[in-house]
Symmetry: C2
DNA sequence: TTTTAGGAGACTGTATACAAGACCTGACAT
DNA sequence: ATGTCAGGTCTTGTATACAGTCTCCTAAAA
């Protein structure tokens, strides 16, 4: 394997690599995660792998049954949809708090991500766009200046990205104009507007998701694959 | 140690025990968690302890710095207050969804917890009351029938319990009448009312907290319902 | 044909062993 | 006084070893 030198510990590298593989679909829903195999594949011992599994389980990407082992979680269409309810509540709050705080550095960070995204969209690097989308939403969360909110949002947004990647439900460029208008409301310090736009944005994403699920699956409740 | 036989694996027992010790204050904020010592104290090897630490870190009860070790997280008064913002958003949503769903089994569960709480209050078992309070809020979350919401709420509510226990900011019996009225709104299927009562309940808890820490309220947070 | 017993293999759970980083201390130099 | 360097200790990171449990396959019994 080629675990980068960015991390200090193998368990962090393994955690990130496993999360990446799950988000990218390399590890399919329901797929069994055999510690030995993963360890061998990543060139490490079982220990870092096990610790990673606990973390990813706590974040909801993996399901663990004692003595039976770990599997990649399954996302039913219903669970996918449910996530949007949570996102609306959480991201609406994040946008409101961010607007209230109106921190210049955070605003700069948002602009930065938007700029990167515009480039990535132009060049058509779809993979990167998904990451930047997550980064933008996360940056709104950070801008709220609420540490527990940030802690919650990170796995939540990664899960959202997962839902989309598993559904082939990418959103068009209008998603980015929604981001821009959300940014503007935050920068203007308009709490109500910021919250409303964040909620509307997630609601739009939900509609895209539902359309995609309706299109790409024969049995809406059984769009999951595997095992 | 007296690890019960309720669990199948040591790591689950250790996780629960460590969480309990943190919530109860036996392990103080900022206290260093030395794996060897914990393992010896609990009569297990370091391995289950390490895995527990990862889980509790993901839940925000422990902070880990690679190669330096783990410490019990510190709760500033500000962080404690911030948690209430998140709770209002999340628990408001949970109450709304629970009212929408109106599941009889869930309602029964809520009644059950309320009944147990009434007994515990009568007998004056304060320790148990705190647990039942958390159990009630969690039951509302379960009643919403949203799996990711439940996943989020469990650590969030435990953290809330921690905030209160660390602040000696217990609430009086009126907290339970608020619970009852929340239950009634849910059972009646009144979404708006349920959400409003949940938010009001958390807001009241926030005021108790602020009084206990001797802090003046920054933002009354009067924002209304969502959706 | 269905059911059940039992045993081999695979895998997880737990413990132990070893490697390496971080911190402290004290001597010595500037 | 400040700095820094060496060594020893404490602790975490990682690997390996062993034990216990589950699965699955096979074959005998009903």
């Amino acid at each position: 394997m080629t675990l980068g030198a960015a991390h200090q510990t193998l368990r962090d590298e393994v955690t990130e690599e496993l999360r990446r593989r799950i988000l990218s679909g390399e590890l399919a829903q329901g797929e069994r995660l055999v510690e030995d195999r993963l360890a061998a594949a990543l060139g490490v011992s079982r220990n870092p792998v096990r610790e990673s599994i606990r973390v990813l389980a706590a974040e909801g990407f993996i399901e663990v049954v004692p003595r039976l082992g770990a599997t990649v979680a399954r996302l039913s269409a219903e669970e996918g949809e449910e996530l949007f309810d949570v996102r609306m509540a959480i991201e609406g709050l994040a946008a409101r708090l961010a607007a209230r705080k109106r921190d210049p550095a955070s605003a700069e960070r948002l602009r930065q991500v938007l700029e990167q995204a515009r480039e990535a969209v132009d060049v058509g690097r779809l993979e990167q766009v998904a990451d930047l989308n997550t980064a933008f939403h996360l940056a709104v969360g950070e801008a709220a200046g609420n540490s527990y909110l940030s802690l919650m949002m990170k796995p939540m947004l990664q899960r959202a990205q997962w839902v989309f990647s598993q559904t082939a439900a990418a959103r068009g460029p209008h998603s980015w104009s929604e981001h821009v208008s959300l940014y503007e409301a935050i920068a203007a310090g308009d709490e109500d507007e910021a919250q409303a736009r964040a909620i509307a944005h997630v609601a739009a994403a939900r509609r895209s998701f539902l359309v995609a699920v309706g299109r790409t699956t024969k049995h809406p409740n059984d769009w999951k694959t595997v095992r």
